[in-house]
Structure formats: C-alpha cells, structure tokens
C-alpha cells in the first residue's frame, strides 16, 4: 500500500497524479473464506480490518450489495460523542472515541476527526437533572463532559439564542469537548484501503440472498448474486436491513427499521463552531468543513426501506433549529436524504453471538451508529474471531430482551442518540 503523506502528494503533483494506485482492489469472490462480513459500511469494513490486523484472519471477504459506504455510513450527520449514561454504553462509545482519536494515523487516511465539542442543551428542569446525571456518571467513568450555564454555552457557541423569552429557553448545557465530527466517507474508504492492503477481499455489487446452514444448524456459507461462497463464520453488519438478513438464517430480531432523514444547507463561511444537540426540541446541527450546515432530523414513524421520508419530519427539525438560531431562516436547504435505521426496544445496539452457530450480528444502532464505528468494529471482530464477546460488548446481547436487563439509554435520559 502506498503511504499517503505530504511528500507523496507533492511528488504526485509533479507527476500529474498518474502514480496513485487503487485504494482497494476489485476482486472476484473466491469459493470459500474463513469468515465473511455482510455489509460494506464503516462497521463491516472496520470489522474486517481488525479481523485481519489483530486476529490474523486475512482470508476473509466483505460482501456489499451496492457500493461501499452507500448505506448509513454515507448518510449520517457524523456526530461523535461518548457521554452516555450507563456504564455499558459509556464503555462502548468511549472505546470508539479513543480509537477515533488515532484513526487517521492508524489508517494513514485523514478521516478528519474534528474534536470541536458536542454541546447538548437543557431546556427544562428535567433536562437539567438528566444532564447533570450524565455529567457525574461520565466523570466517574473517566469520560469528559461538563455542565455549563447558558452564558458559558453561548460563549462556546456564539450563534446560540439564550434569550429567556424563547419558547424553550436554554437553562444550561452539557459539553463533551472531545466529541465532534468526522468525514464519513473517509472512514469507509480508509478502512477499505487498510483492510484491502491486509488481504481482505472487498466485493461490491454482491448481494447476499441466502445464508446456508449445515445439519447441526451452523452456518456453512452464503448464496449471493455472484454465486455461492462457503464460510463457517458470518458477521452481519447491515444496518437497516438486519431483520431481512437475519431472517435468512431463521433468526427473528427485536428490531424495527425506520427512515431517518437529514439535510444540509448551502455552504457558508464558518458560522457554527461546534456540534449542538437539543433533544427537547429535536435539533441536531453542526457545520461541515465544506461550510454546509448539517442538520439531522428524526425518524419517520413507520417501517420503511424506501430511504425517503416525509417533509413534515424535516420541517419539525427546522422549526426547532430556527427557534434556537432565528438568524438562519434565510438560509436554504440544499440537499436532503434518508437512511434506514434499525431500532431496538431499548435503543441500545446488539453486538454479539446469535442462536445460530457461526453467525454474529452487529445491529440496532438506531440513529447513532456512526460514532461507534471503530469501537463497534473492533469488538465485533473480537467476537467473530474468538467466538465470544469482548468484555465491552458482552452486555449488548440479544438475550437481554428475555431477561429484562435492558440498557435503556433513551428511557433513562430522554436523550436521542
């Protein structure tokens, strides 16, 4: 793999950039692999990368039905934070943030992890209590998160409207300075390039249509649009389509798949310094390096695979954005799009083994999977390689829905992910 650096860039600039090589190959699927990851998003490609790098499993393939990064990896609003309430979630997301902090160097690919801070607004007494609970819990878990007065919040995010006269005045905020954003496509491409260099086959336009199982019930391979492939280990990492793919192995899931929309404004000069979230009024906003205001909306209320939602959902979000930032009503929506998120009953992910031998699943991230990408990929790879979960993902079992040991971040905090 040719290393990226300022010197290789300058060398190529003199050469008309003729010398750059493919960032990943375009291989033909082999008849068999030691392991297969279904789903070429950040989570799947990352898992393949760590399987190859840390567990020595290089005879593996990532099967992607379309183009890599075409699912939620390329459709999210790129918010990264780890200030979760429960120990289990905090450990998982903090694991990810720590990996984010060195990811560009790890992958030799600038994923533009920008620790500009995630500011979460409290609009009522209940929010204040809930956010302080988070701040204290994070502190004891070794995660940075600080409580701010409205004035401190405005200092940190000058466009913020902290007038006491607005509909839901800002009563304070929690700030995680290490939170921020990253360039979503670069994460996908960086993992793909890294995995490819370690020998992983990344096979695009390859849709899995069946999972085959032996007499003992264990997986034996997959049927795809590009032929049969044998394998004894399958990691399913297909956010949005998990229920369908797991159904191929006869596993029913506690999931629902909903459309999730986002939008960007036209690009403008820097006017918004951080990531800002307001769960009470449902607004999530940051400004991309390109200058677009990136705004996340909520999910539509019904199951859909159309990657299209209603305008009323984005309207609801923009109502809130313009209440907090009344100067933005003359800004213009440039582009809107939708993704499909699979949502668990407790709004926490499922990462682990399944009732089927050799079948592993990573799903249920709801609206917040991007931030977990490196951490989730890392522990998922561990789970597949060792056939047992990493301590960090051990609580995120499918079985918790039977026992009742839920990890209910949403209920506990009224905080969307």
């Amino acid at each position: 793999m040719r290393r990226f650096s300022i010197s290789s860039l300058l060398t190529e600039a003199l050469n008309g950039h003729q010398g750059w090589e493919r960032q990943w190959r375009n291989p033909t699927p082999k008849a068999a692999y030691d392991a297969i990851i279904i789903g070429g998003g950040g989570h799947g490609l990352g898992a393949a990368y760590y399987l190859a790098k840390e567990h020595g499993l290089t005879n593996i393939a990532v099967l992607e039905k379309g183009w890599i990064g075409g699912g939620n990896a390329g459709r999210n609003t790129t918010i990264i934070r780890s200030n979760y309430l429960y120990d289990e979630s905090a450990a998982l997301f903090e694991h990810a943030v720590k990996l984010w902090e060195g990811l560009s160097q790890e992958l030799n690919y600038n994923v533009m992890f920008s620790q500009r801070g995630v500011l979460m607004l409290a609009h009522n007494v209940h929010d204040v209590q809930s956010f302080k609970r988070h701040v204290y819990s994070n502190r004891l878990n070794g995660i940075d998160n600080e409580w701010m007065t409205p004035e401190e919040a405005k200092d940190f995010c000058p466009p913020l409207n902290i007038s006491p006269d607005i509909r839901y005045p800002v009563m304070g905020a929690a700030l995680q300075r290490r939170g921020g954003t990253a360039r979503h496509d670069a994460v996908v491409w960086g993992y793909a390039r890294g995995a490819d260099a370690l020998g992983v086959d990344i096979i695009q336009n390859c849709e899995v249509i069946a999972i085959t199982r032996g007499p003992d019930g264990a997986v034996t391979g997959v049927e795809t649009s590009r032929g049969s492939i044998k394998t004894k280990k399958i990691g399913v990492s297909v956010a949005g389509h998990t229920s369908m793919v797991m159904g191929m192995a006869g596993v029913r899931m506690p999931l629902e798949s909903f459309p999730l929309q986002a939008l960007v404004s036209e690009p403008v000069k820097p006017c918004f310094p951080c990531v800002l979230m307001s769960n009470a009024v449902h607004a999530y906003i940051s400004q991309s390096d390109k200058g677009e205001l990136v705004i996340g909306a909520g999910t539509d209320q019904y199951v859909s695979y159309s990657q299209q939602g209603g305008l009323h959902i984005t309207t609801h979000t923009l109502d809130a954005i313009c209440e907090l930032f009344p100067q933005f009503t003359r800004m213009k929506m440039l582009r809107s799009w939708g993704g499909i998120v699979d949502v668990t009953p407790d709004r926490s992910p499922i990462v682990g083994k399944t009732p089927v031998k050799g079948l592993y699943v990573n799903c249920g991230w709801g609206t917040g999977g991007f931030k977990a990408t490196p951490g989730s990929a890392h522990v998922f790879a561990h789970t597949i390689a060792r056939d047992e979960p990493h301590p960090i993902n051990a609580p995120f079992t499918l079985d918790r829905f039977r026992t009742g040991r839920l990890i209910d971040e949403a209920a506990a905090a009224a905080v969307a992910h």
Partner: protein
C-alpha cells in the same frame, strides 16, 4: 453605470420603467423585467464571483436556476440579507444591494486566487492524504484553515425581518412548468372545469417561448400565443396560476411541495404579505413539464467570465434586449446553438460558429446560419483572457488524425452548447426509474410510479410542435379526457447533437483543466484520478471529487461527469448508473419550510385558566411539556429559594393555594369501567366504593412505571382518573389502545376532561377553614369527608368534584370546577383566605413538599426503568390478580435481583450540603476510574420544614443499606451521606387528618 450592452430595441423588459441597484457598491441600471444577471450584462459586467476552491474569476454561465457561478449576497435592508443567490433568478428591483462572495480583499483582486497556482496539489481528495501530522494540528491548524477557505457567502447573523406562510392545496391536475408543454397541458386539463394549478419558477410564464424571435404557433408569434394562453387560463375560475413558484419536492403519495416567492420582486412590499409561501399540494394527477438544461462543453479554461451557454446568449438577447458580448463565438456539438447564432446575428452582433461535428454531420440547422462563418470539425482547446474572455482557441480536429493548427478567435463572449439534459428531477423524486436514450444521450422518465406524467423537453422531446402536442395530451390525460390536439409550429426546431465528453486537445491531458462542475472546481482530471484510485461507482466519484454537490446540485455537470466516467470505464452510461435525485430541486429557505412556526407559534404554549392570575401576581414560570406553569411567586426582594421556603412554610403551618389544573383528567364510564381499571393498573379497583379515591401507578407492558395519579370513583360505572401533567395524552392513548384492540368486549368509554376541570389545590391545616364557607351540598367534617374521599356538590354556586387528597402531606382538598369558573372561585378563596395568611405556591414548592413527605414524581424518581418494587411500592401490586398490564414482565429474572436500584432517602452528614439532582453515588470515592456507581440522586432540596437538606435517591440494594455511609458527587468532588428511609416529614401520615406532628416535623 451606462447600459453599454443594452440593445437598442427588443426584449420583454419595460424600458419605460428604469431602475437602479448596486453591485459591490457601484450603481447598475436596468429595467423592470430584468434579472440581476441581465442587468449586469447590460452594464458590461462579466466578472461576478470567485469559485469555491481555486478562487478563479467567474461570470454568468446560464440564465436560470441551473446557474453555478453567479452567486451573490442580496441585501434588501435590515434583517433581509442573505447569501448564495443566483443572479440569473433574482429579479432586478430598485434599491437592491448586491455583492459578490468568496474573495478577499475584493472581487478583482483576490488573494485566494493563489489556490489556482496550487491546483496541481489541490486535486480531488487531496485532503484525505495529508494534514495528518502531527496529530494535534488537525483541530488547531489545518481544519480551521480549511473551514475558513471553504463556504461561499456569509450566513445572516441577525433575525429575519420577513414572514413566511404555508398553504395546503388540492387540485385535480398540477402542472409544473409553464413553457410550451406546460401551457398546453394546463389549457387541456382545465377545459372541463377540473381544478388546475400551473406553477412556474420564473417571474413570467412562457418558458423558452419567451426567448423565441421567429417561432410561430398556429400562425401567431410565440409571444402572442403565450399571451393568449395565459389570458385564457387566467379567465378560468378553476385555474390557479403560480408564477415565481418552484416545485422542489415530489414526495410520497403525490405530495408535491412548491415554494412561491411572494415579495422579493417588490421594491416596497406590503408588510401584510409573506416573503414566501410554501404550497403543499396533493393533486390527483401531476404533469411535469420542466424542460431541459443545456450542457456546457468541457475544454481547457472553459470557465472564463464571458463564456456562457448558447441558449443563455440567445435568451439575454431576445428576452432581455442585452448583448452579452459584441463578438460572440458559438461553440457547439449540435443544432440548437445555430438558432442562438442566428438571433445574435440578427441583433447586429459579430458571430462565428465552431462546430465539433464534421461538415457532413451538420443538418438543416445550417440554413439558420446564413452569412455566419462556420468552422466545422473544429475543437476548442482553450481560451484567453484574465478576468474576462478575450478569445477562444480553436483547432481543426479529425477523428484518427488528431488536432490541427490552432487559431485564436477574438471574442468577448462565447456561447457554448454541449447538448441537452432533460430535467427529470421531479420524476426521479417521485421514485420513477430513469431510462437511458442513447439517441439523445440522456436519461428520460421511465414507467410512472405515482400519478404523474412528463411532457416536452423533460421527456426528451425537443421539437416545438411535438412538445405542444405532448403537453396537450398529458394535460388532457391527467384530466381524464385523453384528448389530443395538433399544433403547427414553425420553423422546425433545430435538434440533435453529437455527444462530446471532453473536447479533443493536443495539450498534455495531465495539465489541462477542463471544468465540469464550475462551482466546486471539479475538472475532467479529477474524475480520471478518482477512477484511477478505484472509485468506479458514480456515487463514489461524486463523493470523492464533489462533482455535482455544489449549490446547483450538478444541473450543468452531472451528465458531463457521467459521460466521462462511461468513457473512462468503457462501459455504456446505463451501466455506469446515475445518481438519485432528492429534494429540493433548487435550494429552499428554511423560512419557507417552517412557515408560521416561529416565535409564539413555534410550539403551542398551553396555559391553565389561572395563568393570568399568576402573571398578575408576579409568578415565575417553568415549562412542563407544552404547559407553562407557575414555578414560584416571589415577593419583592425574594429569590427563588426564599420564595419557595415561604410558600412551603405557609402550607405546613396554615394554608397554601395551588393551581393543579394541568393534571390530566379522564372520565372513564361504563358498566365495565372497574374491570378495565383493574386490568390497566396493578392494584385492585373492583371493591373501591363510590365516593372514594385511590392512588394508582400505571405500568407499561414491559413492567416499568409510566404514569401515576389518583382515581376517584364517582358512581359504580363512573371514574374520574387523573394523570401526570405531561402524561395525559399518552395515558388516554394507552387506554384507547387496550379498549379498542385488546378488550373490545369491555363496555367502557374514556373521554379527556383535562381542560374541562380546573383544579384548585388547598393544602394545609387551615384548608378546610378556607373552603368551608363556599361549599354547598357537601359535609366537609372529618368523618363525613375523610382523606381520600370524593364528593360532588357546588362551590360558589357552580358544580364541583371535591376531592380530599394531599400531595403535600397536609390536609388537602383538590377542587375541580369547570374551567371558566376557576378564576372566580380561586379569587373568592384567596380573598377569604387572607385571614389565614393564604399563600399561593408554585410547582417548586409543590415538589419540595411532596419530597419531604416521600411522595415520588413519575419522570423524576422514575425514568422508564423503574418498577413499583424499586420504589418500595410493591404493596400496590396485586398478588391475587391473574393479570394486568405489566404483570408478566415483573416476573422476568432481572426484575427480582437484589441489586436493583431502590428508592431511599439520603441525609448529608454535614447537615448543610444540598446534593445535586443527578449526582452519582459510590461506596468508595477513592476507587479507580471507572468507578462502580450505586445509583443517583433523584430529588434534592433544602427542606424548609426541617431546616436541613433532604434527598431521594435510587441506590442499588438501597433498602438493605439503611444507615450506611455513602459518597455522592459534587461539582468539586464528593460529599458524604447516610442512607435513610425516603420519608422525612410525618412518616405516620397523621397530618392529612389535621393532626399536628411538631415532633415529626423537626425530627
């Protein structure tokens, strides 16, 4: 500034109405009917902006909403300035202040242009390969620099002075686009009284016909035909004409959304008018007649100011009476530019045509170019000039033989035409699949998915007669008539072109910068680099190079990139694919999308009937769900703490009055009402006697608490159910769900009475004394009306449901009265209560009082993961009932674990520290991070009754920890607490019966 390039006659501008605006501080003259672009061109201004990455000088490329270059800041006065407006669609209005963007110090002299020199380094995706060392520099140096360089205009920083509104509309046929196809469609669709809406993004309807010089339709000029069509349509009551209205989104189930610009074209708009109106239309049928976009040609330095689309040259001349240049070279690969050349010549301009096609491939359009020099079989290899075009460098080209000798054609304007791309955006948004037509090198609509049909150029039909006929048929079909009509249009429209990706050149292809996406500065080289690096999917190429992601969303660049990609990959275009079009078609203001939902109308502010009284008495308020409730009533000089302490004291010692009207109320009626409540609540209801109340916790099927409240049985078949303030809607929905879907056999009706009954809470030892004089028909004596009783009678002569309940621990009454009477009853009680020192109290004192008595609040002591047992309320869960909602979940293994978090009290050992609500609790504050947390503080106050802090907390295994010392986080560190029972005042509950328990109070 003189209109040096205004033609002496012609155009649809009103020369009797001159106007002036400023551009970068200089005055620009124009006429009514001008766009800003046409006026700038009339004044000889070609340089209008700088590109995104390389800061290259840019001019006006188009005459419509596809413009990638000419983006201006528009300032219409205070609170009315915004960036990134296309000069080609802003109507010229006197007094506008316009300025160019993305340059420093000025448009003419831009330091950022150094990026152009660095262009060999700043190729597609360069930023993924560098800026990684040292690690900390990304946040502190590289990213801020990149961010400052990026972006175009400057976001507004003051609130918008304008208003926006919404309109929902229904019609039989919505026609989008009022060019020839759309006009014909609207005429046909509206013939028989069907409701028709015709929308067009331009100020004037007529589309391309407005730029026709020679065309005739059915024997009259195009302009006359348009005028007649519009007169006809305007005369039909069933037709709504919406000019300046862009259909930007085609959503599910034929939901089409339009944005109408109502006042931006007015110099002094009526303040009663909104700036924009968002139309949400649900038409039975849609006719899409959105025309086509001309493609630029790609060659080295094809972006100099003065180079514009050929059809735009034609439009500026014919429609606006402006010469975009005096010497114009048309460079084309097809027929349509010949009409533009002919019109330019007719306007007296010096015209040359360069055609990439060999002589033999030029069709009948050649006749249009009589008297014009045509260089057939020529390629364009470059242009000359700095901030404005001075010449086009051309050379003969023969397939197989290569590029011949160059010559420079001096010119101040070039009209380039690379063929046409049908505007299929709305069709694609409607989820229709596009199909590729190789004969016109374009994607056209395939099979309709929703109730829509395309007509005219957006469907790949380019001849005027055919467009009109297709439009008519579409309109008629959409109206259910299936009629047809022929139109005689003359002369024949010149159509056809030979696809050209990047024009042939003999320069080193590694050095040539032929722009595809003008705004994002994407060149053909960038596309080639992306493919070289393995980005082969069209979506990957788009994301890696940013081609098509600028504010024009690729209207002039997508097909160019796709064609080039197809050439590089040696795959036909359909196999390379196309990107999916998403709303909006053109950028839409946030203001239009949100409409009236601003300020007071952002979200309803619900207030109870006593709200005005509280305002008049100086209350501070808090938001609770949509409600605004009185929080506390400070007297002069009091802070919140002092006010709350005084209010609490009054309730404990005398009497307080509280507005509890926001509590949810549901009337549950029917012979099976008791059975229904028995199934919905975990405790028992069948034996509750009429006239009595009972407290109920409500569980969801998952076993966790989701609401609580007191229920009063008024009659065997009638219950008055109360809920939390925020929970009222979801509790009613929960009840309806079970009644309608699980137990439809139960004869029960549930009706919301939250707002029928205002609730006045009188609490305190003197409550009965205050109440007594006003009540008739109810014996208030202790034995006759004990705690947890309910009676129906009258107060102040109006009906009341009077409940003897207490959320404070004191003797209390909740007086339900019809809402419109609440103020009068409250005032009567308040006036009379003065002799007892009656004190109004707010939600904060209410919280403190109930915490002293150990009463929980759902949402504060509970969070969706708490069971009754966790709160020590396991006794409320019936052990004998076979089933109730949530029962089975309570039997799951994790629900019985001893280490579940349980409600306890906490006492600060120092007797002073008021714990933070939300603070975490540990056994050992010296342990290593991450620490083992035992729970958190749910409620915490300085108790006015006790004079020391009290707190409630959920603690793992809490009930077995009584007396244990634990540690609680504070902003600075930890403080030490002792675990106590979660009741602080009157643990035996005597005070509700009026028994004074001084000892218990000050324990």
């Amino acid at each position: 500034m003189a209109q040096s390039n205004r033609l002496p006659s012609g155009g649809r501008i009103d020369r009797a109405k001159p106007l002036a605006f400023t551009f970068n501080g200089k005055s620009v003259d124009g006429f009514a009917g001008d766009t800003v672009a046409s006026a700038l061109l009339a004044n000889g201004i070609r340089l209008v902006g700088r590109s995104f990455k390389y800061h290259r000088p840019r001019g006006i490329l188009t005459h419509g909403s596809d413009e990638p270059n000419a983006l201006l800041k528009v300032d219409r006065g205070p609170g009315r300035a915004d960036p990134n407006n296309r000069a080609t669609v802003i109507e010229a209005v006197g007094g506008l202040k316009l300025s160019s963007q993305n340059h420093w110090p000025s448009l003419e002299h831009d330091i950022g242009a150094v990026n152009d020199r660095l262009s060999p380094v700043l190729v597609a995706g360069f930023y993924y390969k560098t800026f990684m060392w040292p690690r900390s520099f990304w946040d502190k140096l590289y990213e801020p620099k990149i961010r400052a360089a990026a972006g175009l205009g400057v976001a507004p920083d003051v609130p918008d002075a304008d208003r926006y509104v919404h309109r929902n509309a229904h019609c039989d046929v919505l026609v989008v686009g009022a060019g020839p196809a759309g006009l014909a469609a609207a005429l046909a669709a509206s013939e028989n009284g069907r409701r028709v809406i015709l929308a067009d993004e331009q100020a004037e309807m007529g589309g391309s016909l407005l730029a026709e010089r020679t065309a005739t339709i059915d024997g009259v000029s195009a302009a006359q035909w348009v005028a007649h069509a519009l007169t006809t349509l305007a005369g039909r009551a069933n037709v709504t004409l919406l000019p300046r209205t862009t259909a930007f989104g085609y959503y599910n189930h034929n939901h089409v959304v339009l944005t109408e610009r109502v006042t931006d074209h007015l110099e002094r708009p009526d303040p009663k008018l909104p700036r924009e109106r968002l139309w949400q239309v649900r038409p039975a049928e849609v006719v899409i007649a959105t025309g086509a976009h001309e493609r630029p040609l790609s060659f080295a330095d094809n972006d100099r100011p003065g180079i514009m689309l050929a059809e735009s040259v034609r439009t500026y001349i014919n429609r606006y009476g402006v010469a975009p240049g005096r010497r114009i070279v048309f460079a084309t690969n097809g027929a349509s530019a010949y009409a533009a050349a002919a019109d330019a010549k007719a306007a007296g301009l010096d015209v040359t045509i360069v055609d990439t096609r060999p002589e033999s491939a030029i069709g009948p359009e050649k006749a249009l170019a009589a008297g014009i020099e045509i260089l057939a079989g020529h390629t364009v290899v470059g242009s000359t000039g700095g901030k404005g075009l001075t010449g086009l460098i051309v050379a003969p080209f023969t397939a197989g033989k290569g590029v011949g000798a160059r010559r420079t054609l001096p010119c101040d304007c070039a009209g380039i035409s690379g063929g046409w791309t049908p505007s299929v955006h709305l069709f694609s948004q409607s989820r229709g699949k596009l199909i590729f037509r190789a004969d016109i090198d374009a994607f056209v609509p395939g099979i309709s998915v929703q109730k829509e049909r395309s007509a005219g150029a957006c469907k790949g039909t380019y001849g005027l007669s055919a467009i009109l006929a297709e439009g008519w048929a579409a309109g008629s079909g959409a109206a259910g008539a299936d009629g047809s009509r022929l139109f005689a249009a003359a002369p024949a429209t010149p159509t056809g072109f030979a696809p050209a990706r990047v024009l042939p050149t003999d320069d080193d292809p590694k050095k040539v910068r032929a722009f595809l996406d003008f705004q994002n500065d994407v060149t053909a080289k960038d596309i080639r680099l992306a493919v070289r690096e393995g980005f082969e999917s069209v979506e990957h190429v788009k994301r890696y190079t940013t081609n098509g992601m600028a504010s024009d969303q690729g209207k002039t660049s997508n097909m160019a990139a796709l064609g080039l990609l197809s050439e590089i990959l040696e795959k036909p275009i359909p196999q390379v694919g196309t990107t999916t079009f998403r709303p909006p078609y053109t950028p839409v203001t946030f203001g239009a999308i949100i409409g009236s939902a601003r300020g007071q109308l952002f979200d309803p502010i619900r207030t109870a009937p006593l709200h005005e009284w509280a305002v008049e008495h100086g209350a501070k308020f808090e938001n609770v769900s949509l409600w605004r409730r009185a929080w506390y009533f400070p007297k002069a000089g009091e802070d919140m703490h002092a006010a709350v302490a005084r209010e609490c004291k009054a309730v404990r010692e005398s009497v307080g009055i509280f507005d509890a009207s926001t509590l949810g109320k549901i009337e549950v009626k029917g012979p099976d009402a008791a059975e229904f409540l028995n199934r919905i609540y975990p405790n028992a209801w069948l034996k509750l006697e009429p006239g009595k109340c009972r407290y109920g916790l409500m569980l969801k099927e998952d076993g966790f608490i989701f609401d609580d409240g007191v229920v009063a049985r008024l009659a065997p078949d009638l219950f008055h159910v109360t809920t939390t303030t925020g929970g009222a809607p979801r509790v009613l929905a929960h009840m309806e769900d079970y009644l309608q879907t699980e137990w439809p056999d139960l004869n029960v009706f549930a009706t919301s009475t939250t707002e029928e009954w205002a609730v006045i809470a009188l609490q305190g030892p003197k409550a009965r004394d205050v109440l007594q004089p006003f009540v008739t028909g109810i014996d208030l004596a202790g034995e006759a009306f004990p705690h947890m009783a309910v009676r129906v009678g009258e107060i102040c002569g109006v009906p009341t449901r009077l409940m003897r309940v207490s959320f404070t621990g004191e003797m209390g009454f909740e007086i339900n009265v019809p809402a419109d009477h609440a103020r009068a009853v409250w005032e009567a009680l308040y006036d009379y209560g003065q002799r007892f020192g009656i004190t109004p109290y707010g939600t904060e004192a209410m919280h403190v009082l109930r915490a002293e008595r150990g009463f929980i609040i759902v949402g504060q002591e509970t969070d969706g993961t708490v069971t009754p047992e966790d709160l020590g309320l396991g006794g409320m869960v019936s052990k004998v009932k076979r089933d109730f909602v949530g029962k089975r979940s309570l039997a799951r293994p994790d629900m019985a674990l001893a280490d579940r978090k349980q409600l306890v009290g906490l006492a600060s050992l120092d007797g002073r520290t008021v714990l933070d609500e939300g603070a975490q609790i540990v056994a050992d504050p010296a342990q290593a991070v991450p620490m083992t947390m035992l729970g958190h503080v749910t409620s915490s106050y300085l108790s006015p009754s006790l004079g020391h802090p009290i707190a409630l907390a959920l603690v793992a295994g809490g009930r077995t920890r009584m007396g244990e010392t634990l540690h609680v986080t504070t902003p600075a560190g930890f403080t030490t607490v002792k675990v106590t029972a979660p009741v602080f005042v009157d643990p035996e509950g005597k005070r509700v019966n009026g028994v004074q328990t001084e000892g218990a109070l000050h324990a």
